[in-house]
């Protein structure tokens, strides 16, 4: 049973040993999926240095055992009581939880039971992706790209943004997607100038911009992809702005490599747009990590002090937004390599 999840569990247990922790409670859904392969609300994991337990409601027990037979799965409707019984029986002494995953209420309850807070363990493993994870992200990216290629010639003035969204989702689902990786953004005309526009009933018109920012999940891993184009014959202003964003995007992609600072990649994209006079129209960060979640560590922005590592999957997505008129964003998901990056949305 040496699969990606047994490997990830082994790495996590290694971290527990290094941090002298005997038992760790994992309650964030994505961390659980990372360590089991099973993505579902409503179960808990208790990880020891040598053994690992899953505390699973009766209705999920059979499925859990099928997906992750390398756990001791206990069917229970009182997961914390079951965890404490295991802790007693196994003599686990140093117990910890993730202060970023528990609610304040649940964290306080754990502290009263002798747990200490220790964050960042799962996060430190999740930031770089291994083979099977990379393959899943790459597949999610391929689906997005292929669906877009199929959709683009179908888009006609008169269709609503919601109709385009429905069709795009259907194309991705038919290609094997598990559903959207976030609420798909279809921004037409002036709506393209809102970076996180809520896709609406607005009808697409002739001679205006159309921005599509979307992605899907494949085997629980996300993709993220944005293209902006013009319905009809592009205006000179659109062509100019699109070309600037394209150059900023290309320069950002070129700057991505293991060892580069996130802040430096952002600066490359931002400086190029600022030099063209649109500095105040680029109103978000350049990109973000992604994996089991659509937004993960690191951020490629003006504040993130992190350094890119081989195996990180990040987006590069500069944009220019002209209020009331149009916006342009161009985004690819890339895999960081030793010497540069591999564009996965290609």
């Amino acid at each position: 049973m040496a699969n990606i999840h047994t490997e990830r569990l082994r790495q996590f247990q290694q971290l527990l040993a290094e941090n002298r922790i005997d038992g760790y409670l994992v309650t964030r859904r994505e961390d659980q999926c990372f360590l089991t392969g099973y993505f579902m609300d409503g179960y808990h994991l208790l990880i020891g240095r040598k053994k690992a337990w899953a505390l699973v409601p009766k209705m999920l027990h059979e499925q859990f055992q099928q997906v992750a037979p390398f756990y001791n799965a206990v069917a229970t409707d009182t997961p914390l009581a079951a965890a404490h019984a295991i802790i007693s029986a196994e003599g686990l002494r140093r117990l910890a939880f993730d202060p970023e995953a528990e609610t304040y209420a649940s964290g306080c309850a754990l502290c009263r039971k002798g747990f200490a807070e220790k964050g960042g363990l799962a996060a430190s493993l999740r930031e770089t992706k291994l083979g099977a994870e990379i393959a899943d992200i790459a597949k999610a990216c391929k689906i997005a790209v292929k669906a877009f290629a199929k959709l683009k010639p179908e888009i006609k003035p008169g269709m609503t943004e919601n109709q385009v969204r429905a069709r795009l989702q259907y194309l991705m689902d038919c290609m094997g997607a598990q559903g959207p990786s976030f609420a798909l953004i279809i921004g037409s005309g002036p709506n393209s100038a809102l970076p996180h526009h809520s896709t609406s009933e607005r009808k697409i018109r002739d001679n205006e911009a159309l921005l599509l920012d979307f992605g899907c999940k494949y085997n629980n891993y996300c993709s993220d992809y944005t293209r902006t184009f013009f319905i009809g014959k592009p205006t000179d202003e659109f062509k100019k702005v699109h070309a600037i964003v394209q150059r900023s995007h290309d320069a950002g992609i070129k700057a991505v490599r293991a060892g580069a600072k996130c802040i430096a990649v952002d600066k490359v994209c931002r400086d190029l747009i600022a030099a063209e006079g649109y500095g105040d129209k680029f109103i978000h960060g350049t990109g973000h990590g992604l994996g089991l979640e659509i937004h993960e560590f690191p951020r490629l922005n003006q504040k993130c002090d992190a350094t890119l590592k081989e195996g990180m999957a990040v987006t590069v997505e500069p944009g220019i937004y002209l209020h009331g008129n149009f916006g342009v964003r161009i985004e690819d998901t890339v895999l960081v390599t030793k010497t540069g990056c591999k564009i996965l949305t290609r």
Copy 2:
């Protein structure tokens, strides 16, 4: 601007006055949407007894102001610093946060800044729905029902569960849905015996059960609906089990009314199934509240001590699961009324 969200904000401010709180930080996305109408990651609300502020990233500022002009919206990339500046300037003294919404880490940071924990305020308002909210849930239910009616005759042996899911989602999206309210469950044959089956590449076969548990979002509100039927000529065993679940479901619906205990509704459904000898095959609760989230207070199960109130939207969904063979679940979303309930998935 007297809409549902200004009304909900006014009710929330009333609760602040009753609890002698001057400023409350709202960070749970669904609570924010409840109080603003704007569903989006990445912003914060600070609610005072008379005024209300939104701390919004630059890239969301324009949209936020369009959707919720009754807030003082501050464009900021440092929301907590901005909140503290407002707290100082306005002289807000008694500050509180929701211990179920903040992470342990963020809750501890707020405690160090003089905030106290006070949970349940938004939850107490969200448990009963008002006019516009009921209309949105009803619309989400209608879409699910209509999509199912259109889909059912299209389902043929040889289609995969994923293909059925893709088609069902597309039909709902074309009817105005905003996307799924949860990961749609399409369980064929033995997969129907797994209550939370993960929809798969399994091909539907002739002469087996098919369970569809699904819903959509409309204007951010959820629906939830399950039907189980047989592909081909139903076996006697399927007919028998389906009839028992149907009677359990119908008895549960009859038991729902304002003033009924959740535990009593569960008991009606459970006793009926147990009397037929399938008590140990009904391995989950009878239902749950829903609204902006697919699972909300209250739960209709063997533990929830709550009493149903007029205006609650809940599901009734008993089931029988025969391991390795088939399962049957029948679910409707209903609105609790003074004298009974109204089935919204009809």
